[in-house]
């Protein structure tokens, strides 16, 4: 398929070698020194005079009515200031912001009912966190327990208890999209492979939890300091929830100790802190402890059950994909079903599959809600698709790289419109595969695999995956599911302000977030350095609070580097124009004869004729009578960069439009040894090659690959948020929720291919979600490959040692019986 979309950013032409001084160089991060000396300025480090601290009483039952709350003993403790309940919320605030159905409202403290173990029920505010927790321990709360709804399939049965009576069903949402001639594709297929798969519930689980400090301040303004990302996108919705005019709430960004999606639009914590501060009219801090975060955060992640089918010809051509997925969303729907919109952005992966059916049922159960986690649901689709392709390759006797190569969208087919409507901007998938294959000796490993099995009785497996990393989201994925969406948002901008101060020093203001572990400041400094020829270490970066912030959307969906670069470059162009006009006026030369080079503005071909930026700045700030007629004082420009390429879905949804077009790609190859007796795995080799378009900073992009891969290891082998059959939560600490340590993550060989995007500034694509897009697929494939003689097939993540041992034992039993 082709499309008539014409690339917009002409200066990002991939042909020729644009001369760049900073973009593409490995640069040490400007964020590092303060972090290395323990001065990160995290939310728990903030000290405010008169600060009170909140602790939360969390529901011990999965489903129940709140019968009574007795706070007498808690309030009697010296230092306990107040006790706040869902009754207060119901009386004084509106439900929290919510992109799901209005019949599924949520408050920061449970109102009337509790719907999962860990749900916040009561907040105790005290002079210290210790005293607040004493207060929590002294509360007496009575529940009338209701039947827990745990299994999402049983939740759909008619006799299941309802989580939200007003919604009338535990089926939160259902829809099937069909793109192309899916039935025909399956009818024509020589081979149909199918599988039932479960992607278990995990979460971003940053080492720092979400936290907020709220302070009723001057002029009736409620100030909220918070490590939630992209606050300027949604602060007005927090104001709405709090029943406060939007101009009387200000969120100030606080650096986050990691997010991985978990702090993207994290709203429960700042909303609750704001509400508590308003109740006592004093500053209140609510910082999740690890229990709070694991049980009651905004962001558990996908928990999906698939029936998936792939139609294939006898020579390995992929014809059609049929997905039926039940997603166990838990008790609320913060983002609606946007995580499946995300999956559809790259539903057919890097392959020329022309027919796609995608049936979704989003189910409510007595579990914590889902939100964002690195991949936002598309990483799950990657895993499902790669699982099916591996099965097809095995059935057809093809090597995994062979079947993939045969089906790749070719470099000359871009821009390429996939079934469903999204557009892939560019790519060179064969080049990425070739690069990965050049970094590992597969022939050697395949020989070793055979030799070690025969001579030493060892089990070696090789896994290979080629997956997409869509980047730069527009917002339509959240609502195209609905024929009559309540809020069909189409904006996802990012802004930047560049100031040259009177001394000629550069300052950049970013508008939607604070530092969260990536390198927004380094990127901003590099782009300014590129545009003005100054040393990036001299550029200072600040973050706007929401009262001053221009439109922004924050770090999600691997968008930030692309978008902030667009914003900074836009502001730079405006600023360059003004600088040149001032200097040209001063020097009495035509502006078109001047250029900015190495921090100076000078006449082209006559560099001695020019001014330093500091000279221009001085004129701009203090010598208005020397400015060109009509120009006003100062040297500051702002720019809001909108999504470079997005279109509306068609009214009948036969085409979902372009919503995630900046398409990254990767190939991972893993070699693992599996011990069938213990189920333990050992890494033997790991290669990861990514194409994130033009690379801004190789060293930080590599960090996303290795970091994302580690999280993929966690998702695939270690991490699971477990609710037992009674709805009790079994993973409430790091003793049960196993974040990978250094010994479980492989040493990796990294490679990069650069296929610049024709639509973005410099041709950058997003790369933030990194390895997690591919790693679960290669681990699954490697384990299957190692234990092929036992018919091993990884169908359920995480695949734990016990699962492997059980599969091997079952296969041995069967072999014995035969």
């Amino acid at each position: 398929m082709t499309t008539d979309i014409t690339p917009a950013a002409v200066d990002a032409a991939p042909d020729g070698q644009p001369k760049r001084k900073w973009i593409g160089r490995s640069m040490k991060r400007v964020e590092d020194p303060r972090l290395l000396t323990g001065r990160g300025g995290f939310i728990a480090d903030q000290k405010i005079p008169g600060l009170l601290h909140a602790a939360i009483y969390r529901s011990p039952v999965p489903h129940g009515r709140i019968v009574s709350i007795d706070a007498t003993a808690a309030l009697a403790i010296p230092g306990v200031v107040a006790v706040v309940t869902g009754e207060d919320c119901k009386a004084k605030m509106n439900p929290c912001m919510n992109f799901g159905p209005t019949t599924i409202p949520q408050y920061p403290l449970a109102v009337d009912k509790v719907r999962y173990v860990g749900e916040a029920v009561v907040a105790v505010i005290a002079e210290s966190r210790y005293l607040a927790e004493d207060g929590v321990d002294a509360l007496k709360v009575e529940f009338e327990e209701l039947p827990p709804v745990v299994d999402p399939m049983k939740a759909l049965q008619e006799d299941a208890a309802l989580l939200h009576e007003e919604h009338g069903s535990n089926l939160a949402y259902e829809r099937t999209f069909t793109f192309g001639e899916v039935d025909d594709a399956f009818a024509q297929a020589d081979l149909v492979v199918s599988d039932t798969l479960h992607w278990g519930r995990s979460a971003g689980m940053p080492l720092e939890t979400t936290g907020a400090i709220a302070r009723p301040g001057l002029n009736g303004v409620l100030e909220i300091f918070c490590n939630s990302m992209n606050f300027s996108y949604f602060v007005w919705l927090i104001a709405t929830a709090l029943n406060v005019p939007s101009n009387r709430v200000t969120i100030s960004p606080v650096p986050a100790g990691g997010s991985f999606g978990s702090k993207f639009t994290a709203h429960k914590v700042p909303t609750l802190a704001g509400f508590l501060a308003l109740q006592v009219n004093r500053p209140v801090s609510y910082i999740e402890d690890r229990f709070d975060h694991i049980m009651n955060s905004d962001h558990h992640a996908s928990d999906r059950y698939y029936d998936a089918k792939l139609a294939v010809t006898s020579d390995g051509i992929l014809l059609g994909l049929d997905i039926d997925v039940v997603d166990d969303y838990g008790a609320y729907l913060q983002f609606g079903v946007g995580t499946h919109g995300n999956a559809l952005s790259q539903g057919v992966g890097p392959y020329r599959i022309k027919n796609l059916r995608y049936g979704l049922r989003a189910v409510l159960t007595n579990k914590c809600q889902q939100g964002a986690y690195r991949g936002f649901g598309s990483e799950v689709q990657n895993w499902v698709l790669e699982r099916l392709i591996d099965q097809a390759a095995e059935r057809l006797g093809m090597a995994p790289e062979e079947i993939r190569r045969k089906n790749f969208i070719q470099p000359d087919e871009f821009p390429y419109k996939i079934p469903g409507g999204n557009l892939y901007d560019s790519g060179d998938y064969p080049a990425v595969l070739d690069k990965a294959l050049s970094m590992i000796d597969l022939e050697h490993w395949r020989k070793e695999q055979k030799r070690l099995r025969e001579e030493e009785g060892r089990y070696i497996g090789i896994g290979l995956a080629t997956t997409q990393e869509r980047s730069v989201f527009s917002s339509t994925e959240f609502w195209y599911w609905f024929d009559e969406p309540a809020f069909p948002i189409t904006s996802s901008p990012e802004s930047a302000t560049i100031t040259v101060d009177p001394a000629g020093e550069f300052q950049v203001l970013l508008h939607s977030q604070a530092m969260w572990g990536n390198s927004p400041e380094t990127v901003a400094a590099m782009v300014v350095a590129e545009e003005f020829g100054v040393d990036p270490s001299t550029v200072n970066i600040r973050y706007a609070d929401s009262a001053h912030a221009l439109p922004g959307t924050g770090p999600g969906g691997s968008r930030f580097t692309v978008m902030v670069t667009g914003a900074i470059r836009g502001a730079a162009k405006k600023l360059q124009k003004k600088i040149i006009e001032i200097a040209a006026h001063t020097l009495e030369v035509p502006p078109e004869d001047m250029e900015i080079t190495d921090g100076r503005v000078q006449v082209k071909g006559a560099p001695e004729l020019g001014q330093s930026l500091a000279e221009v700045a001085l004129t701009a700030y203090f010598f208005a009578l020397n400015l060109p007629p009509g120009m006003t004082s100062g040297l500051e420009e702002a720019y809001t960069y909108d999504h470079p390429l997005t279109t509306l879905p068609s009214p009948d949804r036969s085409d979902l439009g372009i919503f995630y077009p900046i398409m990254g790609h990767n190939c991972h190859i893993a070699v693992m040894e599996v011990d069938p007796e213990t189920g333990m795995t050992t890494w033997l080799d790991y290669v990861a090659v990514h194409d994130a378009g033009t690379i801004v900073n190789p060293i930080t992009l590599g960090g996303h690959v290795t970091g994302g891969t580690a999280q993929g290891v966690g998702t695939a082998q270690l991490e699971e948020l477990v609710y037992d059959s009674d709805g009790q939560f079994k993973s409430s600490s790091f003793w049960e929720y196993l974040v990978p340590s250094a010994t479980e993550v492989p040493p990796m060989k990294l490679g990069h291919v650069e296929t610049p995007s024709p639509y973005t500034e410099f041709g950058i694509k997003g790369g933030g979600e990194g390895g997690r897009m591919a790693t679960p697929a290669v681990i699954s494939a490697a384990i299957d490959d190692a234990l092929r003689e036992y018919g091993m097939r990884v169908r359920n993540l995480p695949v734990r040692p016990a699962d492997i041992v059980a599969a091997v034992q079952a296969a041995r039993q069967e072999q014995k019986a035969d």
């Binding site: 040490k28 991060r29 964020e31 590092d32 020194p33 303060r34 972090l35 290395l36 000396t37 323990g38 001065r39 990160g40 995290f42 728990a44 480090d45 003993a73 403790i77 210790y130 005293l131 004493d134 207060g135 321990d137 002294a138 689980m205 940053p206 080492l207 720092e208 650096p255 986050a256 100790g257 990691g258 991985f260 402890d289 690890r290 969260w516 572990g517 990536n518 060293i699 930080t700 590599g702 960090g703 690959v705 290795t706 970091g707 994302g708 891969t709 580690a710 999280q711 600490s733 790091f734 003793w735 974040v739 990978p740 340590s741 250094a742 010994t743 993550v745 040493p747 990796m748 390895g771």
Partner: protein, 191 residues
């Protein structure tokens, strides 16, 4: 019902303790139930001691007690009485004047969000005082008690090896094992 019945510790009970904190003796009255981590953070403003889990798993609160890494969330402040405590500020608390270990993490991109970083830096100091030479695999073992959620550890391993080169630059390698408690084998006593 009283608070004390729940907590098993009377919050009003205080003890006066003296500990050597980053080379300086500090004497304070502390609540007996206050953890070492909370005391360092809240009373002494050493906010580099980060709390990730408070269950003794993640290691973000790691400090050196008499030169050995410990979880500050699992110790009470009173247990530091008479002991030597080092936080990352003991290497350098000045972003413009990094210690060689901090410099190594900077150069090798051995950090992203910075939440585990002070702990990783302190653990690096501890193991490098013990000896210089380690395989990457051994480094992974040595740092496996501290969780990092961002980096995937590869660049932390590189940073530890880089720090080893920096600290032992010019020294005849291998260095004999030290006591692990600083003292005479401390390669950077002035830090």
């Amino acid at each position: 019902m009283t608070t004390q019945a729940h907590m098993g510790a009377d919050p009003t009970v205080q003890r006066v303790i003296t500990a050597r904190i980053n080379g300086r003796d500090v004497t304070r009255a502390v609540d007996t139930r206050t953890t070492l981590a909370d005391w360092l953070r809240d009373e002494l403003d050493l906010v580099s001691v980060h709390l990730g889990c408070e269950h003794g798993v993640c290691g973000a609160c790691t400090v050196l007690l008499d030169g050995q890494s410990v979880r500050a969330c699992l110790l009470l402040a009173v247990q530091a009485d008479g002991h030597d405590v080092e936080t990352v500020e003991s290497l350098s608390g000045d972003p413009n004047d990094l210690h060689p270990i901090q410099q190594a993490f900077h150069e090798e991109h051995g950090l992203q969000c910075g939440f585990c970083t002070p702990a990783m830096v302190l653990r690096t100091k501890e193991i490098l005082e013990e000896r210089r030479e380690r395989t990457d695999e051994e480094v992974r073992q040595e740092i496996s008690g501290i969780l990092c959620r961002c980096t995937g550890y590869q660049n932390i391993v590189n940073a530890v090896q880089c720090a080893a080169r920096k600290l032992y630059a010019g020294s005849p390698a291998p260095i004999a094992s030290g006591t692990g408690t600083g003292g005479s084998t401390d390669p950077h006593p002035g830090a």
